[in-house]
Subunit: 348 residues, 2 copies
């Protein structure tokens, strides 16, 4: 299935299907004189003799979040320059969300920008492959350095999901869950019913596609995140702090952050979420719910105050629900947030 | 005098006059909750008790080209993040071309982009402040990492030029000369007459303003450098190599590069430039003409082959003149260029 973006200009296609990488990629690469590949080492190890055997001398980069720092970034850029990358070259980035974030950032700044194609290989990456956000981490927090830069195309070959480790499934599912929640209570109910006792990856494609569509609708309305795009940050405010502190996978932290957002939505707006049911559901699937009980609130507050979405100094910008259908961005006083998170700890 | 850009959107003003910094800056800063300053240490040392005394706790950064590397860049970004910069903050960058290039690049990638105002303090910087190009250097050459990112405004306070050292005057004048040459033979003649025996900085403002207008006209036609913008690269192909090797100021290298471009224009197109007159003129003003005689052609070719403007592998993209009125971009075979530069050495 191909989905097309609907920006004013510079649109691109998101190709979603099983076993499409080589053929779809060729339709693009033949338009370029030279093509360079950045591939996550974990993915390359698994697929180098099969699915990725057609790729000659790729740059194999350190896997996951450890690639999102300035030193591996510079190392990769210097290697691309050494092998003669030009402005009219194409860069293909194959890997999970982190590889895509940093690889896309490289594409945006090398030679002041070259075309790139993102090939997500995890459940989580389907999310970061849409929206044109690229980034690396700073000493002061995640994703604090980056650019808005759209890919030439996204090729989402679902076959890569077959080799996903359990931890990654849980992580990616956090974003699938978030998009269902932002789409509608009906879709969320359907998703929770389909995954009541376990997350079967083969059951997810319809929800992944719905998630892509939901995200794209929001992103196109508001590419530079001045309004509704902020809804996509649901669960992320606390998640970034938890993830930074406890080094758990991003989407698992998001799932914990969603629990906090639902609790706060009930407290502030009487949104009426059945918190215990959600907690039981995510506990059953193996999310590290106990971190919500163990977390040091002062420390979490410290990290959350660094969030680049904040724009008033004594407040933290937070995505909550006004009711089950209506996400909203609200500025919460630091003290109030501290009290609510402390109360949540007691609930777990 | 205020000049307005004429892009399709995101236009900005270029304010040019003596002693305008504080007042003009205030009209912008009052629109932001927080304002951060990056200032070249050489400029800050000279003006901290006078012109810049109104600025509280700026980030004073290493002067000139040495700021355009990843390590000082990251250091400055982490300092900005540590002091709480937000997406809706304003970054003001005060300094020469290099400070502007790297400061603008910081603005483009910190928190995925904040507004910035460029305050050029040298003759050369008037050039880099227009056109939205930002960059730092790589191990493989100058300006290989960067972004296209427009400032919110440029404030060009000509008073800063009073303290320019001789070397910087020569350097900046190289770009003033280049713009006059791209404007028209008549303007170039006028400029050369006004500076026949020495470069009097107080005589330059009309040519600076013409230069800004010339560059802006070209840049607006072609922001992303697919066509006529390449003309601005006049003299730069060899200049980047000379500058990288001999560590001379950018605009001085450009002046040497222009001599090479004129020689090549005569050879390839019979453009009819009086080369000896140009060489005598720049020698009289103190440009290091002897480097054109000393340069190692193989080494120069090596650096020129890394130029990000090249797009065919056995050719080097070069700006030449078809006749005195008509600049053009041409791909020159590596071997031919090598021969012409070798012949030029003999001419010096």
């Amino acid at each position: 299935m191909d989905i097309s973006t609907a920006y004013k200009d510079n649109n691109y296609k998101i190709h979603v299907d099983r076993n499409i990488l080589k053929n779809v990629l060729q339709t693009y690469t033949k338009q370029y004189e030279s093509v360079y590949y950045i591939i996550d080492e974990n993915i390359y190890d698994i697929y180098k003799d099969s699915k990725l055997s057609f790729i000659i001398s790729p740059l194999v980069v350190t896997g996951g979040e450890s690639f999102k720092y300035v030193s591996p970034l510079m190392h990769t850029m210097e290697a691309l320059l050494a092998s003669g990358i030009k402005r009219n070259s194409l860069l293909v980035v194959i890997g999970g969300g982190a590889t895509g974030d940093a690889g896309g950032f490289i594409a945006s700044i090398i030679l002041r920008g070259v075309d790139y194609i993102h090939v997500p290989t995890t459940l989580l990456a389907h999310d970061s492959a849409i929206g044109g956000k690229t980034a690396i981490n700073s000493e002061h927090g995640k994703n604090l350095i980056g650019a808005f830069y759209r890919p030439r195309a996204v090729i989402y070959d679902l076959e890569f999901l077959d080799s996903l480790p359990e931890d990654e499934v849980l992580s990616g599912f956090g974003e699938v869950f978030k998009h269902a929640m932002l789409h509608s209570p009906a879709l969320l109910d359907e998703l929770m019913a389909a995954t009541e006792n376990s997350i079967d990856i083969t059951a997810l494609p319809p929800y992944i596609i719905k998630g892509i569509e939901t995200k794209m609708k929001i992103v196109i309305e508001d590419e530079h995140e001045s309004g509704s795009r902020k809804f996509l940050n649901l669960g992320h405010t606390l998640a970034h702090a938890v993830e930074y502190k406890y080094k758990i996978p991003h989407g698992q932290a998001v799932m914990l952050g969603i629990i906090a957002a639902l609790y706060i939505s009930n407290e502030l707006n009487g949104a009426g979420f059945d918190l215990d049911a959600y907690i039981a559901y995510i506990r059953r699937h193996g999310y590290p719910v106990q971190l919500l009980k163990e977390m040091d609130i002062d420390e979490m507050m410290h990290f959350m105050q660094k969030d680049k979405k904040n724009h008033r100094s004594d407040y933290i910008s937070y995505v909550v629900f006004e009711d089950k259908n209506t996400p909203a961005v609200t500025d919460i006083k630091i003290e109030d947030l501290q009290n609510m998170l402390t109360a949540l700890k007691e609930r777990i």
